[in-house]
């Protein structure tokens, strides 16, 4: 995983709520056995016309001003539904490394942090202000500073956000979660010894 560094990037606006992972990456693209190459299919059914190839000009992210955006500002309960990690793979592969919303579905939220994506939670009024700023000035750039948990914007809608220090540390260092867990392998071994005594039927 790439370490997450401070950046100033275009913020794209998608003013939709309850965007589910079926929309983020439709099922026909889940048959691949690789982790890469999903970006071209991100939001496929909305993004392309019925031919599946030409861009749908009405879809938000197809606006010229939002090209090369790294920040995605979206409505609440983003990423609900299926657990497919193909959703954050597609988001990251497309080029986003930051999402800003009022809420995320649980599994999707976890999946983001495993893939170098910072999912920031804001209040409804903060989100409204950010959305209004983008709508008034499409192509506007926000600065995201994870180390100091700060987002700044040209119109002054910046804020400090909350994030679990463990997730913050992992994103900043780009550390592998599994490696971290395996530092506790002796504790896992001990737990299993005890587990076998307490619940022998699980090991029969």
């Amino acid at each position: 995983m790439q370490p997450y560094t401070k950046h100033e990037s275009i913020a794209a606006l998608m003013n939709r709520s309850n965007v589910d992972t079926d929309q983020i990456i439709p099922k026909q693209f889940l048959k691949k056995v690789e982790r890469s190459g999903f970006g071209v299919h991100l939001f496929h059914d909305w993004r392309y016309n019925d031919d599946g190839v030409t861009a749908n000009p009405d879809f938000e992210l197809n606006k010229p001003a939002f090209q090369d955006a790294k920040i995605l500002v979206v409505g609440d309960n983003f990423g609900c539904g299926s657990s497919r990690e193909h959703a954050p793979w597609a988001i990251a592969d497309y080029g986003f490394n930051t999402i800003i919303s009022t809420s995320y579905a649980d599994i999707f939220y976890n999946n983001c942090f495993k893939n170098g994506i910072l999912a920031i939670v804001v209040s409804q009024s903060q989100l409204d202000a950010l959305m209004a700023e983008i709508a008034a000035n499409e192509g506007v750039k926000f600065t995201v500073d994870l180390e100091n948990r700060q987002v700044t914007t040209p119109a002054g809608n910046g804020f400090t956000f909350e994030i679990d220090p463990f997730r913050q540390g992992n994103l900043l260092s780009g550390l592998d979660d599994i490696g971290l867990t395996l530092k506790h392998v002796d504790k896992i071994d001990q737990y299993e010894v005890q587990h076998k005594q307490l619940y022998p039927w699980l090991w029969a």
């Binding site: 309850n18 079926d22 691949k32 056995v33 309960n77 867990t181």
Partner: protein, 465 residues
């Protein structure tokens, strides 16, 4: 201290809890299918790691598999490769796989209970959001992403944030026409698809106690559709009776030890929950979803809502866009909605009781003109049982297709899908845009409601049949 069932399971599975790190919890059972595992196996291999406890894993093939002409090779080369990779990965790592040719094959969340692989008090994960199903046994069961699949394979643990607890109390008695599916949909209608976010739900109350194990599976299956991490039902005599004698259930002395442990699991009287939601089962009519989110659901006797009937701007907008996508008019009666397709199956409603309920309604009817109806058993064992009871004949005589098991039209990955504009009465769990095929329109219902719609060509209030 008085503890909820969730807290008991959490505490007994805590391996590491140190300042500055997410708590690590132990995973007892890991379920797998072909779609969310290949990249995890690849990651494991690349990092030179091994599967820590192969015995904790049970794998099947379900999402991509065809539900007809199973003797032929899979036509889609990418799906075929995914199936082959799954077989290779399981062989290489010594995992128990019920492949397409196995008589034990079927949808993972149908197969696992059939073999008694999940017991009360376990922590169970799967790269699949509908893992919540196994909460029916009083196990903490939840969906994870592929990176987490790799993590569990390598370490048998997961870093987890402790959830809040929500008690959903369903009092009273359900009418004989309403089912666990209707309870699940009514709850989501009440609290919304984000209502359970951050929570583990425990379902309790007379109406829940009266549900069969299969009904409890249907209910817990859709906990994720309410946004919850997991759903739980306290284990009781029904749970034990269901498990007793199954392949992976404890035997002999171990059965007695397990029973003693299982009996200690239910939430202590007076244990506190972070939130409580109460419903009266008698109020729950057979439900029909009308929109593109499972929270957009209403009783069959009602009318399609109008945007202005919602009290907040977000919901008004969602209603407008759902009506446009679904091709419905505000205030039209639900029973006026005509359908093109019917699907009975999935990890929500693909078990024997579901086919019995549907067959009871389908018996002696004919599928309406212009309607295609498919019945897709959740597993070969469900299929066999249905055939032993003659249910297949009832469906076939009524003009239904009787298929081989798989996820099929629940997510339409295997070629079973709607075309643009087609409308389906479906016993599955998600009515998202495009879920059953691009431009397809999904209405979530119970099996009996689906069967009644197949015969009439539109939704029917089964209480009036």
């Amino acid at each position: 201290m008085k503890k909820t069932m969730y807290e008991k399971i959490w505490d007994s599975h805590l391996v590491v809890d140190v300042e500055g790190q997410a708590p690590l919890i132990y995973v007892d059972r890991h379920l797998m299918h072909e779609v969310t595992s290949p990249q995890a196996f690849e990651g494991l291999k690349l990092s030179g790691r091994k599967v820590r406890n192969p015995h904790s894993i049970l794998a099947t093939m379900d999402h991509c598999v065809p539900t007809k002409n199973r003797n032929l090779p899979i036509a889609d080369p990418i799906a075929r490769k995914q199936i082959e990779v799954m077989a290779d990965n399981c062989k290489e790592n010594g995992l128990n796989l019920y492949d397409m040719k196995s008589h034990n094959n079927g949808v993972i969340h149908v197969v696992v209970p059939e073999h008694g692989f999940v017991h009360p008090g376990m922590v169970v994960v799967c790269g699949d959001s509908h893992t919540a199903t196994h909460g029916a046994f009083g196990a903490l069961a939840f969906g994870i992403g592929t990176s987490e699949v790799e993590h569990v394979m390598a370490t048998q643990t997961l870093p987890q944030k402790k959830s809040k607890t929500m008690l959903v109390q369903v009092n009273g008695e359900l009418s004989k026409y309403s089912t666990a599916k209707d309870i699940a949909l009514a709850i989501i209608g009440k609290i919304g698809t984000a209502g359970g976010t951050g929570y583990v739900i425990e379902y309790a109350g007379d109406a829940i106690k009266k549900l069969s194990m299969e009904g409890r599976m249907t209910l817990c299956n859709m906990a994720i559709e309410a946004g919850a991490r997991a759903g739980l039902v306290a284990p009781d005599e029904k749970t034990y009776e269901y498990l007793n004698g199954k392949e992976f259930a404890p035997k002999g002395d171990n059965w007695e030890k397990a029973l003693a442990y299982w009996n200690s699991l239910p939430s202590d009287a007076g244990a506190e929950f972070d939130a409580v939601v109460t419903l009266d089962a008698a109020d729950i009519a057979p439900q029909v979803s009308w929109g593109t989110s499972p929270e957009q659901v209403i009783g069959v006797n009602a009318n399609v809502p109008a945007p202005e009937s919602f009290d907040n701007e977000g919901k008004r907008k969602a209603c407008e866009s759902a009506l446009a996508y679904m091709g419905l008019t505000a205030n039209m009666p639900i029973t006026d909605i005509k359908i093109d397709y019917v699907f009975i199956g999935s990890c929500t409603n693909g078990r024997i009781e579901d086919f019995r309920a549907a067959a009871e309604v389908a018996k002696g009817t004919k599928v309406a003109n212009g309607v295609t109806a498919i019945a897709v058993p959740g597993s070969y064992h469900v299929k066999d049982q249905a055939e032993a009871e003659g249910l297949d004949k009832i469906f076939i005589d009524a003009g239904w297709e009787w298929r081989d098991p798989g996820c099929s039209m629940c997510l339409a990955m295997n070629g079973d899908e709607l075309t643009k504009g087609q409308r389906c009465a479906s016993t599955s769990n998600r009515n998202f845009e495009g879920r059953q095929g691009k431009g397809g329109r999904t209405h979530l219902v119970s099996p009996a409601m689906a069967a009644a719609a197949a015969a009439a060509g539109h939704f029917v209030d089964i209480r009036k049949l």
